[in-house]
């Protein structure tokens, strides 16, 4: 047999491997999520971009541009899911929810890249969901920019999701749209929090599950947040630090400060570390961030992160 020919055994093994690979590729959503993991693992120094010039939509554009442009993330015909903080029955000026202008600008950028569908979604803490969506200003702004807004999705829209590397959280029900999305963008707002001390991107992901109560009732809420972050990774995180809430978070009313910063990045832990130090805290003092670092979600030490100003 010449060297170029395959033995029967080799052929069988390769065929099986190819078939398995093809099957995995059909789980397109999972694949793109795993891509995120691969990217995070492979990059040595994560990058955070901070935009501080111009009006708010301008800052959003500048931050995304500096990350390589939205076209790097959103290909033509992609299904995009944007997850802002739309959890509280509060007006935009209170700083409890994501600034609607930020969400709207991101929707516009995605549509400009030819996205097939842009969905803005959250499972709010306050109720009823329709009033939360209206009062936060996000529904109007996002719909005008061309997105579909789902606040308070019905149980049928969730799918059981195994948290493979979870220490406390083993499985949960995650929004199907997010699991199957081509691009998942997390748009948290930086706030203090009565329970976890601070909240940003990792905690924002709690709005993508059906049963949050189970996390609170578990042995460690912090561990659940960290566990979940290993499984559900956004492709892009855009941090809304336009108006941060400094007291009585997460709902307010409290003291706010207009920092007018928009940060963007792909390392969820680095983004959170940046967010909490804006609030005057240290990342290592935040329980869920420390545990996320232990699980390898990302880089918590900001001295090892490239912070670009634009």
């Amino acid at each position: 047999m010449s060297r170029n020919e395959m033995t029967r055994r080799e052929f069988l093994i390769r065929a099986l491997a190819a078939g398995a690979g093809a099957y995995a590729a059909t789980q397109a959503g999972l694949l793109s999520l795993l891509n995120g993991v691969a990217e995070a693992a492979s990059s040595s120094r994560p990058t955070i971009v901070v935009a501080s010039k111009g009006d708010i939509p301008g800052r959003v554009r500048a931050a995304v541009e500096a990350m390589g442009g939205m076209a790097k993330f959103v290909k033509r015909g992609a299904a995009v899911v944007i997850k802002p903080n739309m959890g509280w029955l509060r007006k935009p000026e209170t700083g409890a929810n994501t600034n609607p202008e930020v969400v709207a600008e991101l929707v516009r950028l995605c549509r400009a890249c030819g996205a097939r569908a842009v969905t803005v979604v959250d499972n709010p803490v306050d109720g009823p969901a329709s009033r939360v969506a209206a009062r936060s200003g996000i529904q109007e702004a996002a719909e005008k920019a061309g997105a579909k807004v789902i606040c308070g999705p019905p149980p049928a829209m969730y799918e059981r999701n195994q948290i493979k590397r979870g220490k406390v959280l083993k499985e949960t029900d995650t929004l199907r749209d997010i699991l199957r999305a081509d691009v998942f963008i997390n748009v948290p707002v930086a706030k203090v929090h009565g329970s976890t001390k601070a909240t940003a991107g990792l905690k924002n992901l709690m709005g993508t599950v059906l049963d949050r109560g189970a996390w609170h009732q578990s042995d460690s809420l912090d561990q659940c947040i960290a566990d979940y972050a290993t499984q559900v990774r956004p492709h892009l995180i855009v941090l809304d630090a336009t108006r941060v809430l400094l007291t009585n978070g997460p709902k307010g009313p409290g003291q706010t400060k207009d920092l007018n910063l928009i940060a963007a990045g792909t390392d969820p832990l680095a983004m959170d570390a940046y967010a909490v130090q804006l609030l005057g805290m240290r990342p290592e003092d935040i329980g869920h961030l420390k545990r996320a670092r232990e699980l390898g979600v990302g880089e918590m030490d900001l001295s090892r992160v490239n912070i670009k100003r634009v």
Binding site: V50, L89, P128, G194, S195, D219, Q255, Q277, L278, G280
Partner: protein
């Protein structure tokens, strides 16, 4: 010609019943949205409780009870009064939504009274009921509130709302109608309709758009997010069904024998110039006697009782000889206006009215302090009133149990009280936090209360309208007993009334009773099942203080941050500008 009038009457009934339902829907929806500032008022030129205002019995009871002429109420009630003076009980046959509902149910259920024909003496009962009501309106209530004497003039105000047909129908719809209607619409929309209608709609896309619009309009009325569920919903439905079922004894049993509004209109109708006349073509076939909805025609079919006739035009239409006609001349008409009441029964009715005033005294919750204030020591901890409510004794007297506040409540927390305040308080609104919180963004109940038992209030005032105090049950709270990270109550609290007591880095919730108003957001969101580990108790209810005093109390309460357990030191100060520059290496 007569059958055309009959058809016109049915159309009129449908129109008024539909109008009633539409206004009912508007009342629930627009008032709530308007109060939340999420949507503008509908701009509908009619008030949503139009039917209640136009009801002459309720107007009479309001004015007699309060001993004053209420001009706006008079204007609203005037059309029905004038109508009765001209045409007798035409309201009952052409306008009244309860009458329309009864007719509709009798037609659908094919309920035919077993005893057609002349009304047995039961028809007098409605006049005795009216007598009892009027007596209660004239007598003072058993409790005179020292705080609001003008409100507690009589019991008659609430008694009328209990038996008036429009109030009854409104209450039935509120307590037992909205939630099933919403469920039906949602079910049809989500499940069934999609399957059955989808193939039809595929070929006709315009049909899809039309159905979509209809569905959206229906849902707009019945609040898709939060269909309201009510305690005592079964009771109110049962009462309505009994009223309808009584039709199997005699058609329109309620209208014939029990309705005090009908009695009042019948009395006014004695002055009406229009009457029915039977000509000599009458063959005494007695068809009219059998078909008459009200059993108003006497043994001699040429004679009928004026105070019973609702102008349904049935007799005119069914008479095979066309012997019946309408005339304005008294001569030749067989209208008998005599009420034929038994004096003994009238006195009994008056006696019942008198006794009704004393009824509240039978229950122990009637105990009053020396100052005349209601003794709250006997009420349940869960007697949490709506914001802006008058102090308890004035409240139970002023509240007419109309259910308007419960209808407009945006979170479905207001429920009819059952045991919380004793017999006196049954049917009055209480907050039930596990059903829903009292939203910090809503002022609907204060706007809706027709008797100002709930005084109107502004959004800014809510933070100092103290209804009660939340209390953490440290034997149930998972943070206190298991050391779990929760603080969902703190998250939920809109007034910053919960602070953290921190032990080894773990925060446990503590309620600041100087700030907590008892809104119930914490209790509503507490994940500990079934009743929550943090519960609102009526202790801390400060309705006896004026609004200015309550505001002063609230302003005096300075904010607290979290404390290290036992040390009382504040460990997380608010970062100053300098802090943020110094401590944020990557600003």
């Amino acid at each position: 010609m007569h059958s055309r009038v009959r058809r016109l009457r049915r159309l009129s009934q449908i129109a008024f019943l539909t109008g009633f339902l539409v206004l009912f829907g508007f009342a629930g929806r627009s008032l709530t949205l308007h109060s939340l500032g999420d949507g503008a008022a509908t701009g509908w030129p009619l008030p949503a409780d139009l039917f209640l205002r136009a009801d002459p019995l309720l107007a009479l009871s309001a004015m007699l009870s309060l001993r004053q002429i209420l001009l706006p109420l008079l204007w609203y009630a005037l059309p029905a009064v004038v109508l009765a003076l001209l045409l007798g009980r035409v309201f009952c046959g052409w306008v009244c939504p309860m009458g329309a509902a009864i007719d509709l149910c009798e037609r659908i259920g094919r309920i035919r009274g077993r005893r057609p024909g002349q009304a047995p003496p039961w028809r007098r009962v409605k006049f005795y009921v009216l007598v009892a009501l009027v007596v209660t309106m004239l007598l003072p209530a058993a409790h005179r509130s020292p705080r609001e004497p003008s409100l507690s003039q009589s019991l008659g105000l609430s008694a009328a709302y209990l038996v008036d047909p429009i109030a009854l129908l409104t209450r039935t719809l509120t307590l037992s109608g909205v939630a099933p209607a919403q469920w039906t619409i949602t079910f049809a929309r989500d499940v069934n309709l999609i399957w059955t209608v989808a193939p039809l709609v595929e070929k006709r896309p315009w049909l899809g758009a039309v159905l979509e619009r209809i569905g959206a309009a229906l849902e707009w009325f019945v609040r898709p997010d939060s269909p309201p569920y009510f305690r005592l919903g079964l009771v109110s439905l049962a009462i309505f069904l009994v009223i309808v079922a009584l039709g199997s004894f005699a058609r329109r049993f309620w209208c014939r024998n029990l309705c005090p509004l009908g009695a009042l209109l019948g009395l006014l109708g004695k002055l009406s110039p229009l009457r029915l006349r039977v000509s000599d073509k009458c063959t005494r076939c007695l068809r009219c006697v059998n078909e008459c909805k009200m059993g108003a025609i006497l043994e001699d079919p040429k004679q009928y009782r004026g105070p019973e006739c609702i102008w349904c035009y049935t007799c005119l239409a069914v008479c095979p000889e066309k012997a019946i006609s309408v005339t304005a001349l008294p001569a030749g008409s067989g209208r008998r206006d005599g009420l034929d009441l038994e004096r003994r029964r009238v006195l009994e009715g008056m006696g019942i009215g008198l006794a009704a005033v004393l009824l509240p005294k039978v229950d122990w919750t009637a105990k009053r302090t020396q100052a005349g204030e209601k003794v709250l020591k006997l009420s349940s901890e869960r007697l949490i009133r709506p914001p802006g409510a008058l102090p308890e004794d004035a409240f139970v007297t002023a509240c007419v149990r109309c259910g308007e506040c419960m209808k407009v409540c945006s979170t479905n927390t207001l429920q009819p009280a059952f045991g919380e305040g004793g017999l006196e308080a049954v049917g009055t609104p209480v907050l039930v936090p596990r059903m829903g919180p009292c939203a910090d963004s809503c002022v609907a109940c204060g706007q809706a209360c027709p008797t100002r038992a709930i005084q109107p209030f502004k959004l800014e005032e809510k933070q100092h309208l103290f209804l009660g105090t939340a209390n953490v049950d440290r034997s149930k709270c998972i943070a206190w007993i298991y050391g779990r990270q929760c603080m969902v109550c703190d998250e939920a609290c809109p007034y910053d009334a919960i602070y953290a007591d921190v032990l080894n880095g773990l925060p446990r919730p503590v309620v600041d009773d100087r700030v907590c108003v008892g809104c119930g957001e914490c209790e509503f969101r507490c994940p500990v099942e079934p009743r929550g580990a943090i519960r609102v108790s009526a202790s801390g209810d400060k309705r006896h203080l004026s609004r200015a005093q309550q505001r002063a109390l609230r302003e005096a309460a300075s904010p607290r941050a979290q404390t290290e357990s036992g040390t009382g030191t504040y460990i997380v100060p608010v970062p100053t500008e300098q802090d943020m520059i110094d401590k944020a290496p990557y600003p």
